[in-house]
C-alpha cells in the first residue's frame, strides 16, 4: 500500500501500476487528507461560508469534496459565496489583515507535512492579535490511522510505502514502531516514478527475505530525525485528538487540535460523533484495507462515480476508487 495520495497520483499518471507484474498488487491507501476529511467538516465549512460576512480560504483540493447532502464548496462559490483558493496558509494571514471587515475562516486540512504551515499561521495570527481569523481544524495524523489499519486482522496489506514528505517532517520514530509492532516492512518513499519503484523494490526485497524493518528510500529528503524545528512548532501549536477519518471511523489521536493559548482561534470544539466506515452505502473501510476491489462494490460506476461520489475513495482523483474508475473500468 502506498499511503499518500500524491504517490497514488504519480503511480497512475506514469502507468507504474500497469508496468508492474500482476504478482505485485498496489492498494491505494487513505493518504489523501482531502478525501478523509469527514463530511461533517465540509458541512460546517459550507454553513460558514454561506454567511455573507465570511470569507472561506481553502486549498483547491477541498472544493469538490462532497458534504453529507452532496453539495460542495465549488457549488457554493458559483452561488456567490466568498470561497478563495489559496496556495499557502500564510496567504490567509494577509487576507485577514487586508480585509478587516471580513470574517476569515481557514479550512485547515493536511497531514503532518502541512501542519507546520498551519502552525505558522496560528502563531502569526496569535501574535498579531487578529480578531477576524479562525481555523476550521481538520488536520490528521497518519501513524495512528496506519496503526488501526494494520491492526485489523482482516487487512491484507503486506508492506507499506510511507509518505516521504510526512517523514521529512516527522522523521523515523513513529514508523520504526509501526514496522516492529505490526511486523510489516515500511519504506519511506518519494514521489517520482524512480523513487516509487525504488520504494516498491525495497519493500519486495524485505518481504522475500522475511524482514519487516523501516527503510529509507528517500534519503535526499528524509533524515532520521526529520525536521526538528517543524516538529517543535507542531508540538507547540497542536495536540493530538481523536478524529473521524472518512471511511475508517474514529481514529484514536488521529487528528490535531489547537492547544492553548491558541485554541481561541479554532472555530468549533473538536467533538464529532464517530461514524463507522462513513455512510452505509460506501464500504470504503473495506477498500482501504484491501478487502474489496473498487470494481466489486455494488455502487461502483453506477450510483458512485467521480462526478457524484458516495464516499472517500471516489472523491479525489487519488482515491482508490476514482483511480480505478479512470484507468481500469
Amino acid at each position: 500500500m502506498e499511503v499518500c495520495g500524491g504517490q497514488t497520483h504519480a503511480l497512475l499518471r506514469h502507468g507504474l501500476d500497469r508496468l508492474l507484474e500482476d504478482s505485485i498488487e498496489l492498494i491505494h491507501g487513505p493518504g489523501c487528507p482531502v478525501c478523509v476529511t469527514d463530511s461533517e467538516r465540509i458541512d460546517q465549512a459550507i454553513a460558514l461560508v454561506k454567511k455573507p460576512e465570511v470569507t472561506l480560504c481553502s486549498y483547491g483540493d477541498m472544493l469538490r469534496v462532497p458534504g453529507s447532502d452532496g453539495s460542495n464548496l465549488l457549488g457554493c462559490r458559483s452561488e456567490g459565496a466568498d470561497v478563495r483558493v489559496i496556495y499557502s496558509p500564510l496567504d490567509v494571514l494577509e487576507i485577514a489583515r487586508r480585509e478587516r471587515d471580513r470574517q476569515v475562516v481557514f479550512l485547515a486540512v493536511g497531514f503532518e507535512t502541512t501542519a507546520p504551515a498551519t502552525g505558522l499561521l496560528v502563531q502569526q495570527a496569535h501574535q498579531q492579535r487578529l480578531t477576524n481569523l479562525r481555523l476550521l481544524m481538520a488536520h490528521v495524523r497518519v501513524a495512528p490511522a496506519l496503526d488501526q489499519l494494520l491492526g485489523d486482522p482482516a487487512c491484507t496489506v503486506q508492506g507499506l510505502l510511507a509518505a516521504g514528505h510526512v517523514c521529512a517532517v516527522m522523521g523515523e520514530a513513529e514508523y520504526v514502531d509501526l514496522a516492529a509492532q505490526h511486523r510489516r516492512p515500511i519504506v519511506m518513499t518519494g514521489f517520482s516514478p524512480e523513487a516509487l519503484l525504488r520504494g516498491i523494490l525495497c519493500c519486495i526485497k524485505q518481504l522475500e527475505e522475511g524482514r519487516h524493518d523501516l527503510r529509507n528510500a528517500y534519503e535526499a529528503v528524509v533524515d532520521q530525525g526529520g525536521n526538528r524545528d517543524a516538529r517543535r512548532l507542531i508540538e507547540t501549536v497542536f495536540e493530538p485528538v481523536d478524529r473521524v477519518w472518512r471511511g475508517l471511523g474514529v481514529i484514536g489521536k488521529g487528528g490535531y487540535r489547537l492547544r492553548d493559548p491558541y485554541s481561541a482561534l479554532a472555530v468549533e470544539p473538536e467533538e464529532l460523533d464517530g461514524q463507522p466506515y462513513g455512510n452505509g452505502q460506501c464500504p470504503s473501510g473495506q477498500v482501504l484495507r484491501g478487502l474489496m476491489r473498487p470494481g466489486d462494490c455494488p455502487s461502483f460506476g453506477d450510483a458512485c462515480t467521480p462526478a457524484h461520489p458516495l464516499g472517500a475513495p471516489m472523491v479525489s482523483s487519488e482515491g482508490a476508487c476514482a483511480a480505478y474508475f479512470r484507468f481500469h473500468h
Partner: protein, 334 residues
Amino acid sequence: MGHGGGGRLMRELITELVVPKLGHQKNVLHDAALLYTPGPQLAFSTDSYVVRPLFFPGGDIGRLAVYGSVNDLAMAGARPLALSLSLIIEEGLEVDCLARVIDSVGEACRGIGVEVITGDTKVVERGKGDGLFINSTAIGVVEHPLNISPSAIRPGDAVIVSGDLGRHGLAVLSARAELGLRSPIESDLACLLEPVMELLAAGVELHCLRDLTRGGLASASDEIARSGQCTLQLEQQRIPVHPSVNAACEVLGLDPIAMANEGRMLVICPAEQVGLALTVLRRYQPEAARVGKVGERWADGSSLDVRYPVSLISELGVNCPVVLAEGEQIPRIC
C-alpha cells in the same frame, strides 16, 4: 450607466472613443455594414472573451478578441475579411481602461490588415460583469481546395503543436496574484493567420487545425479525436513546455497539457510532410514539434476504449489515457 442608455452619452462614447480608434471604411454609422465577398466559400466564426484580468503579461482582452476570432477562421484555412466587435461594459469601468482596450483592438487589426466594420455597446450594472466582456465575430474567405476539419484526419497522420504550451495559462495565473506566483513568462497570445497561410502556400496537405485555448492540448486533442472518430497518441517527452511553466505546474499541482494557450495550434497532416510543416512553423516558434500521431479509426462495435480516445505515452513508455479535468483545473496540495 448613462452611456448604455442609447442617448447622447452613448453616441459620444462611440463617436469620440470607439470609432476614431478603429477607423472605418466609410465612416457611416448605420445598422449594418456591407461587404463585397471575393470567393464562393465563406468562413464565419464568433467568440466571446471574458478574461480576467483585462490586462495580463503579453496581452489584453482587446488583442485577444481580435486574434481569437481571426485564429478561429485560420483554423479553416480562411483569410479574414472583416470583424464585428460587441462590448458589454460593467458600470464603473474607467473610460481610460476602455480606451486602452480599444487601442489594442485597433493595433491588432492593423497588424493583420483587417477592420472592425460593425459593432455594439451595452452597459450593465455594477456587479453584473467582470469589467468588460467582448464578443467578436469574424467573416473570412476560403481560397484553397482542402477540407480542413476533424473528419479529414487519417490513421498515421502526424500531430504537431506549433510551439511550447501553457504560457497563457501561467501569465494569467501570475497576473491574478491570489496564488502569489510571480513569473516573467508572458502569454503566448499570437495571430496564427500567417503560419497557416504559409503552410498552405508550401503545399502542406492540412487535414486538421485546432487552436489550443482553455483546456489546452488535452481538450483540443480530445475534441478532434471524438469528432474525427480516431484515437490520438501523444508522447509526453515530445511535448514542448517551458521550464517555468513546468515548474509552476509542479508547484500548484496542475497539468501542463491542460493549461490555457492563446497563440498555439494543433496541426494534423500526413506523416510524410512533417519536415515541411515544421520548417514553416519553426520560423514563428522554434519549439514547434511533432508530439504524436493519429491512431486507429473506430467503428461501431469496436473494442477500442473510446471513453478516452487520447492517450499519452509516459516517459516510462506506458500508455496512459488522457482524462480531462471535471471543469477548470484547480491548484492542489495533495
